[in-house]
Amino acid sequence: MHEKMKNKVVCFLTAAIFAAGFLLCLFLPKEKYSYMERRVLAPMPELSGKAVWSGRFMSGFETYAVDAFPFRDAFRRVQALTAAGVFLRKDNHGVYFTGEGYLSTVEYPMNEASLAYASRRFRHICETYLTEENEVYLCVIPDKNCFLARESGHPAMDYEEFERQMAEQADFAEIISVSDLLEKEDYYRTDTHWRQERITDVAGRLAASMGTRISETWEIRDVPADFYGVYYGQAALPVKPDTLRYLTNEALKSYKVYDWQNGKEIPVYDMERAQGRDPYEMFLSGSLSLLTIENPMAEETRELVVFRDSFGSAIAPLLASGYSRVTLVDIRYIQPDRLGNFVDFSGCDVLFLYSTLVLNHSETLK
């Protein structure tokens, strides 16, 4: 190709790229929701003199233009592959991929102030609602970085120190350690969460430490759809999906779950959600502030209140096999000071069950 021809090709090719981009941006139908990123995409901002003068229209349009860009998911994948393949980045926006197919986010360093804040919030609950007749427990669930980060060359918190600091500050509770029962295979490869079918031993230890026993017989069922966890969308890399599994048995089938936030009965496993935007929400319908599980087949009348994050959703049905009633409270979504109106703590066991991810960013706790 001669210089002159090359120049013409460069001009026409570039003009074609920008013209095509322009036309596609204008005329291609826009998605309202990104399933990959699990979020609502920015809409076109309202055009008015006031919005333009204040700059609101322009800033809104910039967000909209990026969100509504044609083939957004494909471009995000190109970015992720370039970061990994060309720039050899160890993480992309904090999300990393290990050779074994695991995705995770860098969770580092340990935020001591956050641990202290979480302890203060738990102490406040204890001082407000609990008496000497309540047995109080605390269990710290290590996130999967605990098993992935170091071996894949990423910085990792000192998880033993993490648990030690929580134990030191939570002197109102008996500590139940479960780290030794967990390994990376107990977590979904593409998601934050642990796999319910692999945590029966964790549930067993929690129950035993609280002086009860849970069922030992469970059937494993698969959700008949691929599970792309939260990290899959964040990473935008071509990673194989997981299979979402859940445990069931006769007792579990008799559970009555009541969602106090929305005032209705809900299933233990919501199969519609299992194939929805966030399939992990199939476990007790995901992020709910307050719900109860009644177990009519319980051997004794015994109640448990679990203060929990999303890790609690998968383990609570297992724990419920050892109690007649389990109340789940998520103080990220309900003010603890309002709990007295809904929860009777008399004689209950109380378990604070939190992942290191939430404890290390406890500003979300009310």
Partner: protein, 465 residues
Amino acid sequence: MVFSSIPFLYYFLPLMTAVYFLVPGKLKNAALLLGSLLFYAWGEPEYVFLMGLSVLLGYGFGLLVEQYRGRRPGRIFCGISILASLSFLLYFKYTDFFVENVNAVTGLSLPLPGIALPIGISFYTFQIISYTVDVYWGEKAQRNPVTLGAYIAMFPQLIAGPIVKYSHIAARLEKREHSFELTASGIRRFALGLGKKVLLANQFGELCTAFRDAQGKSVLFYWVYALAFALQIYFDFSGYSDMAIGLGRVFGFRFQENFNYPYISASITEFWRRWHISLGSWFREYVYIPLGGNRRGKGRQLFNILAVWMLTGFWHGAAWNFVLWGLLFALLLTLEKLWLLKLLGKSRVLSHIYVLFFVAVSFVIFNGQNTGQALSDLGGLFGAGGIPLVSEEALYQLRNFGMALLLGIVGATPAVKHVTGRIYQKKAGEKALHLMEPLALTALLLVVTAYLVDGSFNPFLYFRF
């Protein structure tokens, strides 16, 4: 609006170029001016009037200066024009700084006005001054306000330069030609600049942010940060200049080069001939030489250097760390003028180390949020505060950004240019490069778009000046 954004690349630019090339020749400046005003108003709707007023003042004073050139009123009008331009700059950029310092010195608690800095004011003010001074020195004044407006407000260089002197493009403002050759070279330059900004500068910016957020600081991490910021500011600013120069060519202009591989310099004197060339030459022509330059003895020359570099520092920002940064260069340049330059000539390796060391240190001062942080960061480079030599975070970020840093270091030298130059010299190599270039440009544009769509966005560093 910034060049490295989806609205610019896929909305504004296609529309702007289509309109520009469709309108007849005599309307091209008007199209350019209107497009530039829209471009500016996108980010600063209220300040577009301030820029319009500045242009009108420049236009009016230009005519008056020309009319009375060589006479006292000509000098007075030129002076008033400079003062008017500088007063806008002083008011919008430095009022808060002055009030803060008055409060600090007197113990008063005068409220800070909190005036927002109009984007690009430092650049277009200097262009207006260059215009009226050039007219005062004999350049023909522009009779058409649209043409002058197109010069001052021209969007490719409006916001972060290069500072284009009126005399450099006066002829092309009147008549310019467009060719595939010039346009293609503009596209190449623009795409290269876009890649420098989006693929490299933004990653170095991420590394600097990671450093700021890190709890585990160490001496190594401070030096990694110094390296990252030195590369960030280079690729950010030279990338912007490349884009401006490239767009200028697409619209038929040839702007002055603004960077010429500054990090290969063997002295600070050479560094400043290669870094932000348009600013350096502006200060030389409009401040240093009018002050007497080197024509009035050594003492006066050193004073002039000090004055120019204090002003250069102050131009970059209304904070003492910028003044400190300017003074550091004044000191180094003075030492070089007196004896250091001769010494540096004896060892090429040591002279490069000397330049890179002081430039890295200077940018650490430059990037401090305030003087306190700048000094604390300086201390960190040398282990002040008992910080460890190495930290886990520093090692991780080195691994994480290692390839980007390596590409940045190589890209900051003319190595790639030399290699491609050699390949071009061979017939087969030339053919291969001709074939590859359009493909490489397309791939680059698509990858840059991917990074922009993913939201890897950082505003240009020089916008705040």
